[in-house]
Amino acid sequence: MAVYSKVLTGKTIRMRAMEESDAEVTFKMRNDPERTRFLNPPPESVEAQRIYIAKQRESVDGYYFIIEDLEGNPIGMKALSDYCPEMKTVESGRFIGFGSQIQHIEALIMGFDFAFDVLGVDKVLMTVIENNKAMYSLQQRLGAKETKRVFMPAFGCDSIHSELNRNDYLEARKKAENIIERFSGRK
């Protein structure tokens, strides 16, 4: 089972493995039209979402996290999928965030840290819809390098594929860490 049993703890958020009991809250997240407009369609019901989570928990190559604030309130979800130990790669999967900008940055950082430090990959692969300018920009800012573009008929635009290697990430991570440090305690 691709379930990471430890809780990842940052300065503004925690990330823990998604459970079937998270079906209702994650179903709501996946049905938020604003936050999910660049993502694939959600399951049709809470039960379908529960089945989806159960399936993901049994997969051998995907890690699905609930993002919580430090009070334990769910504020998003983050996936890492298609983990390939032989190739030492993993795909940075779906991210949905309802928190602050700082919490979103930290969630991505913690996801990349998990990929490089826990899974031990050499590269994190990522794909983003061309129209999702904020996410594309953030990926590049964190060190990712674009590799190709593929037209996506369902979205009427390209999907942009990028790769992030450890050295580029570590360099970019310093700036993100400074920002998190500066603003993490802000009320």
Binding site: S100, Q101, I102, K133, A134, M135, L138, K175, A176, I179
Partner: protein, 77 residues
Amino acid sequence: MNIEKYDKCFKEIFGDNAELNENFKFGAAPGWDSMAHMELIALLEDTFHIMLEADDILHYGSYENGKLIMKKYGVEM
């Protein structure tokens, strides 16, 4: 003039070619992502010697709305 300093902050983060108008918003303006957002806030705070509250950081959102938020901190444009 505060507006010149304000615009200079945006240009420093988003580049000299940034078209600063009512359409310059998070997610729509090229390069305005979460990291750029926080770098902009940090630069504005340092430039105007203020400290924004979390809610104002969260809702900063656009070049124009930002002017209204700055006003709360005594920075008139």
